[in-house]
């Protein structure tokens, strides 16, 4: 069963199209990475999934129902983001007690052990935490809630490198103990690459790529050679990325769907191939122009 079904969802803000007819399905018990540049619509999408907002058109279902104004969806979803503001009247322990009351699957023991591990004082008030400590606390909150659908929107903002590493490790361990559907958004893939199973790459409010992360490495390939040779060989294939190099050489990234004949032809023409890292590919795919920053300065 799919936990999330999203079909042609569009969401407009005053001037801007935040989501532009995006469609995808997320399966149960998978960790999905949501990657896109700032302003690509990641947070908007997550807010609609969490029931904070309503889509303008299209259809989005969580657990088979529309999440907007839906108690069942709300009770089974937790959305962790960096704008969370807990009541200033409650200390961390009291926030956990309140959460335990709301979330039936709340894991009290784990919540306090994590709190202890990350050296957060249960008697401390949320407002007094630093930015990084807030993120850490939010993360513990999200993990302990044990919700069937757990969403982290850029969870590591403000965390230092050590905590960040610990967090991903904790997330993975927790997931193995308690498999559930997790969505993790980030603007750089390399951080979450080892953790996620599926990747949903979005650009300008539209899904660009949705596939298992393992397949992504094979999905595109870099081609290096003399520019006229390479251009001729590529023909009218779409260039994901191209870069001029010294001595009239070019570096072009294209989809890796060549036939055997084509590949042989390439070897004969002296074209070299090299794999593209997933992170680089994401950057290329989501960049505004084909040439990247170099074009601005040329």
């Amino acid at each position: 069963m799919n936990v999330i079904e999203c079909k042609d969802v569009t969401k407009n803000y005053k001037r801007k199209k935040a989501l532009n007819s995006i469609s995808f399905q997320i399966e149960e018990n998978k960790i999905t990475g949501l990657v896109g540049r700032n302003g690509a619509g990641k947070t908007t999408l997550l807010k609609i999934i969490a029931g904070y907002m309503k889509e303008d058109s299209g259809e989005l279902q969580v657990f088979g129902e529309s999440p907007f104004n839906n108690l069942m969806a709300s009770a089974n979803t937790i959305f962790i983001h960096d704008q969370m503001e807990f009541s200033p009247a409650l200390n961390l322990k009291e926030i956990f007690e309140a959460a335990e009351n709301f979330y039936e699957k709340w894991d009290r023991e784990r919540s306090f052990r994590l709190l202890h591990y990350f050296s957060l004082d249960p008697k401390q008030y949320y407002k007094r935490l630093s930015k990084g400590m807030k993120s850490t606390f939010n993360m513990i909150f999200g993990l302990s809630a044990n919700c069937t659908l757990t969403i982290f929107d850029e969870p590591t903002t403000g965390m230092d490198a050590a905590v960040r590493k610990d967090f991903y490790r904790a997330l993975l361990k927790d997931y193995l103990d308690n498999p559930r559907t997790i969505i993790l958004s980030s603007h750089h893939l390399n951080e979450i690459e080892d953790l996620i199973e599926d990747l949903l790459l979005i650009k300008d409010g539209k899904e660009l790529l949705y596939m298992p992360i393992a397949d992504l490495k094979e999905w595109a390939i870099a081609v290096i050679g003399k520019s006229n040779v390479v251009n001729e060989w590529i023909g009218n294939k779409e260039m994901i990325h191209s870069k001029d190099m010294v001595q009239d050489q070019v570096y072009v990234v294209v989809r890796n769907d060549f036939s055997k004949v084509e590949l042989e032809k390439a070897y004969k023409a002296g074209i070299k191939f090299s794999p593209v890292s997933s992170t680089d590919l994401c950057v290329y795919l989501t960049s505004k122009t084909k040439g990247g920053i170099d074009d601005v300065f040329s």
Binding site: M53, F63, S74
Partner: protein, 247 residues
């Protein structure tokens, strides 16, 4: 996939309990405003001076009127605050939908009204004690037609109704402001405008004031307050039911 499926009533109850605890600073503000009102009241809210052949009397009247007025303002502003982003979004950290959020807010405001009214009524005793023990003045305690404990309960009841009425008004205004920020300026302008236009006894503010504050029949007063508050809350709920959570 095992899904939790809570009922609306369960969630409203949980949110209500949570709010009583989490909005603690609102009560602190109530206490501080009542203390300020008591200090203002101690000098007397009204005065009568009489000078006859052998008498020269000046009477300072004191009552909990100002404390109640301050508590009404507190209730009004508390209701507005519960509609602001910081507090409204707080619900979304836990299990909620807009209906449960509104219902638990109304329950919370009802409780807040009661607490505000009870402390305001009790503050009269504090004033009496201060005047009796700490001020070098004679005093006179006018006994109303009711027995003291009954009068206290009666006062708490009617004052709760007043506070709740203003909560309902504040809540609707808060929701309107959330929908369109311009109301922050438009609504006070209308209010102050109608006060200063001195439209006599026919003006809207005057008629509304008379409608509630001049009502001498308790059953009719209860009916008026309950119906008005319900209408205001229903409007607010209707308007806020499509409201999105923005940061």
């Amino acid at each position: 996939m095992s899904l939790v499926n809570p009922s609306l009533i369960q969630i409203v109850k949980k949110q209500y309990v949570y709010k009583l605890r989490a909005y603690m600073d609102l009560y602190t503000r109530l206490v501080l405003s009542q203390i300020v009102a008591i200090l203002f009241s101690l000098n007397g809210l009204g005065m009568m001076g009489a000078r006859g052949g052998v008498f020269e009397v000046s009477v300072h009247f004191y009552s909990a009127d100002l404390v109640v007025i301050f508590s009404i303002l507190w209730a009004f502003i508390t209701a507005i605050l519960t509609t602001t982003k910081a507090i409204r979004n707080g619900d979304f950290l836990f299990v909620t939908n807009r209906v449960s959020s509104n219902l638990s807010n109304i329950l919370f405001l009802l409780t807040a009204s009661f607490i505000g009214a009870a402390t305001a009524m009790m503050s009269t005793y504090l004033m009496k004690v201060i005047i009796y023990y700490f001020m070098d003045h004679h005093y006179v305690d006018t006994q109303g037609p009711m027995e003291a404990p009954l009068e206290l309960l009666f006062g708490i009841f009617t004052t709760t109704l007043y506070l709740f009425l203003f909560c309902a008004l504040g809540y609707l205004i808060g929701v309107l402001v959330q929908l369109y920020k311009g109301f922050i300026f438009i609504l006070p302008a209308i209010f102050i405008g109608t006060i200063f236009l001195r439209e006599g006894n026919t003006g809207l503010v005057t008629s509304v004031f008379k409608f509630f504050f001049m009502e001498t029949s308790l059953p009719i007063f209860i009916t008026k307050v309950v119906i008005t508050s319900c209408l205001l809350f229903i409007c607010a709920m209707g308007l806020s039911n499509r409201m999105e959570v923005n940061q």
